[in-house]
C-alpha cells in the first residue's frame, strides 16, 4: 500500500515539476494515505449523474425585501 502511494507521489510530483526528495515522498505519502482512507466514505456516497459540482458557493439566495422578520422583532 505505502509503496503504491509513494509511486503515485513520485509520478504526480514529477509530472507537476515539483521536486521531492525521498524523505518528503514518504511524508507526503502518509498524508495522502490518510486522506484516501477518509475519502472512501465520500466515494461510497451515491451521487446521481445529474448532480453537478457546487457553483461559486452560495449557501442560500440573499433574502429579498426589507427584512420584515428582523425589523418586526
Amino acid at each position: 500500500m505505502n509503496s503504491e502511494i509513494q509511486d503515485y507521489v513520485r509520478a504526480t510530483a514529477r509530472f507537476l515539476a515539483l521536486p521531492l526528495d525521498e524523505a518528503q515522498v514518504e511524508r507526503v505519502a502518509v498524508h495522502l494515505a490518510r486522506t484516501r482512507s477518509m475519502v472512501a466514505a465520500l466515494q461510497a456516497e451515491p451521487l446521481h449523474a445529474e448532480i453537478e459540482p457546487a457553483e461559486v458557493f452560495c449557501p442560500a439566495p440573499f433574502p429579498p425585501g426589507d427584512d420584515p422578520d428582523v425589523a418586526a422583532e
Partner: protein, 461 residues
C-alpha cells in the same frame, strides 16, 4: 480594560480621548505581548494618526462614527497599506508592501476604529494551533504554556489578553471558532459570502470567511455591522445590502426553536465539551438530540477541498521554495496539490446535496448548538490529545466540530463557556443559524451572555 463600545461611548461623551484609549492599549500590548506573542506587526504611528483624527473631529463638533476611537487589530493576512502581507509565512517576506488596505480594514477605518497592528497565525492559515515556526508560537493568555488555537490564534489571544477589544480574522474550517473556544472570547464566523474578502490573502476561496472576535456580544455585533456591505469585485461576496444586527441582540428569545446537535457532534466531544454544551443548552432551554445531516461526510469533503485548493494555490512556490515553508504544514500542502481531481469534484458535487439537507434542517429549527472544539487548549507542541479514549492528532482534530458547519456556509457565533469554572480553561459553544441569520445567532449569544454562563473576562496576566 473596558469593552470596545464603552471606549466609543467615552470618546463620544468626551470622558476620554481616542488617543488616551490608544495609549492604554499600546501599554497593555507592550507589557503582555512578550509572553503572549499575539502581534507580528505594530502600526502604532498609523494608529496615533487615526486616533488624533477622531479627537480632532470631536473638537470640531462633528458627528463621530459608530466605532470612533476603538482600537483593533487584524490577522496578518489582511492587507495594511505600507506593510507586507505575509500571511504567517517567511516566503512572502520579500514581497512589496500592500498599496492599499483590505476592504474590511477600510470599512473599520471609516467607522472610526483605530488599527494598532497585525496578528500571529498559522502559515497561510493551514492549522488549528498557531505554532508558527517562523514567528514563534502564540501563547494562550488563559494558560501560557497552552496553544491559542488557530489559525487566527493571535486574534483570540490579543482579545483574551486585553490588548485590544476587537480583532478581525479568517475562518475556513474553524479558524475563528477554534481560537475563540480555546482563548475564551466571542467570535463570529458570518454566512459564507457575507463579508468581502478583497484585500485578504486567500487560503481556500470556496470556503474562506472573515469575521470579528471580541469580549462582548455588543462589540462583536457592532464590529460586524461596520464591516457589512456588498462588494461586486469579490466573486464570493453574495450580500446585496447591509442587515444590521446590533439593535436586535437584546430581543427576546420567545418563539425561537433552539436545538442541540447530537450524533457526530456528541461522538467527537470530550467530557468538558459536553459539559460546556450542557451549560449553554440548560440556560437556553434547548431541545437535545438534533441530527445535523452528513456531518462526517461534510468534514471529509471540507478536508479534501481545503487540501486541493490550498495545494494548488501554493504549487508555484512549493516548486521553488518548499524548504522555506512551515515544516508543520508543508507536507499537507504538497499532498493536497497531488490529490486526484476525482476527490475534489466529488466533494463539490456532495456540497450541492449537502446544502439542500442543511437548509431543510433549518425549516424545523432557528438555532442549533454544538461544542466548538473537542477539548480545551492543549499544551504547545502536543502531537495528540485524548478524545474519549482514543489518541487523535492534535493539529487536524481541533477542527472536527467546526469543519462540517463552515462547509455549509451557515453563520456561527462561538460563545465562551467555562466548564470547570472561571479558574479553569474555557471551551466554546457554537451557536449556529441558517444562512443570512446572523441576527438570530447573535441574539442567542447575547442571551447566553446575559444569563452569566458565557463570558469573556480579561486574562489575568
Amino acid at each position: 480594560m473596558i469593552t470596545g463600545l464603552n471606549i466609543v461611548r467615552a470618546v463620544h461623551s468626551g470622558e476620554m480621548l481616542a488617543e488616551e484609549a490608544l495609549e492604554h492599549c499600546i501599554a497593555r500590548i507592550e507589557v503582555t505581548d512578550p509572553r503572549v506573542n499575539a502581534f507580528t506587526d505594530g502600526t502604532f504611528e498609523r494608529a496615533t494618526r487615526e486616533a488624533r483624527a477622531i479627537d480632532a473631529k470631536r473638537a470640531r463638533g462633528e458627528v463621530l462614527p459608530s466605532l470612533a476611537g476603538m482600537p483593533y487589530a487584524v490577522k496578518n493576512l489582511f492587507d495594511i497599506e505600507g506593510v507586507t502581507t505575509r500571511a504567517g509565512s517567511k516566503v512572502r517576506n520579500g514581497q512589496p508592501a500592500a498599496t492599499a488596505d483590505a476592504v474590511l480594514v477600510q470599512r473599520m477605518q471609516a467607522a472610526g476604529a483605530v488599527l494598532v497592528g497585525a496578528l500571529n497565525m498559522d502559515e497561510f492559515a493551514y492549522g488549528f494551533t498557531t505554532e508558527n515556526s517562523h514567528y514563534g508560537p502564540c501563547h494562550n493568555p488563559r494558560r501560557l504554556e497552552r496553544t491559542a488555537g488557530g489559525s487566527s490564534g493571535g486574534c483570540g489571544a490579543a482579545v483574551a489578553a486585553g490588548q485590544v477589544p476587537v480583532t478581525v480574522g479568517s475562518d475556513t474550517n474553524g479558524s475563528i471558532r477554534v481560537p475563540s473556544s480555546l482563548c475564551g472570547v466571542w467570535g463570529l464566523k458570518p454566512t459564507f459570502g457575507r463579508l468581502t474578502r478583497r484585500g485578504s490573502f486567500p487560503f481556500v476561496a470556496s470556503i474562506d470567511h472573515l469575521g470579528p472576535f471580541a469580549r462582548s456580544v455588543e462589540d462583536l455585533a457592532a464590529s460586524y455591522d461596520a464591516m457589512q456591505g456588498p462588494d461586486a469585485l469579490d466573486p464570493g461576496c453574495h450580500a446585496e445590502r447591509v442587515q444590521p444586527t446590533l439593535a436586535q441582540i437584546g430581543n427576546s428569545l420567545q418563539g425561537l426553536r433552539i436545538g442541540v446537535l447530537g450524533g457526530y457532534f456528541e461522538d467527537n466531544a470530550g467530557p468538558m465539551a459536553r459539559k460546556a454544551l450542557d451549560l449553554a443548552a440548560t440556560a437556553l432551554g434547548a431541545t437535545a438530540g438534533v441530527i445535523w445531516p452528513d456531518a462526517a461526510l461534510a468534514r471529509v469533503a471540507a478536508f479534501v477541498t481545503t487540501a486541493s485548493e490550498g495545494g494548488s494555490l501554493h504549487l508555484p512556490l512549493l516548486r521553488e521554495r518548499a524548504a522555506e515553508f512551515e515544516p508543520l504544514s508543508v507536507d499537507r500542502f504538497i499532498a493536497g496539490a497531488l490529490q486526484p481531481v476525482d476527490w475534489y469534484l466529488r466533494a463539490q458535487r456532495f456540497r450541492r446535496v449537502y446544502r439542500d439537507k442543511v437548509l431543510a434542517l433549518f425549516q424545523q429549527w432557528d438555532v442549533l448548538l454544538a461544542p466548538a472544539t473537542p477539548v480545551q487548549a492543549t499544551p504547545i507542541g502536543s502531537e495528540t490529545f485524548d478524545l474519549n479514549g482514543s489518541a487523535v492528532p492534535t493539529r487536524p482534530s481541533m477542527g472536527l466540530l467546526t469543519q462540517p458547519i463552515s462547509f455549509s456556509g451557515c453563520p456561527v457565533v462561538a460563545a465562551p463557556l467555562w466548564p470547570e469554572g472561571r479558574q479553569g480553561l474555557p471551551l466554546g459553544v457554537q451557536v449556529i443559524a441558517a444562512p443570512w441569520r446572523e441576527d438570530l445567532a447573535l441574539r442567542v449569544a447575547r442571551a447566553l451572555e446575559s444569563s452569566g454562563v458565557a463570558s469573556s473576562p480579561v486574562a489575568g496576566i
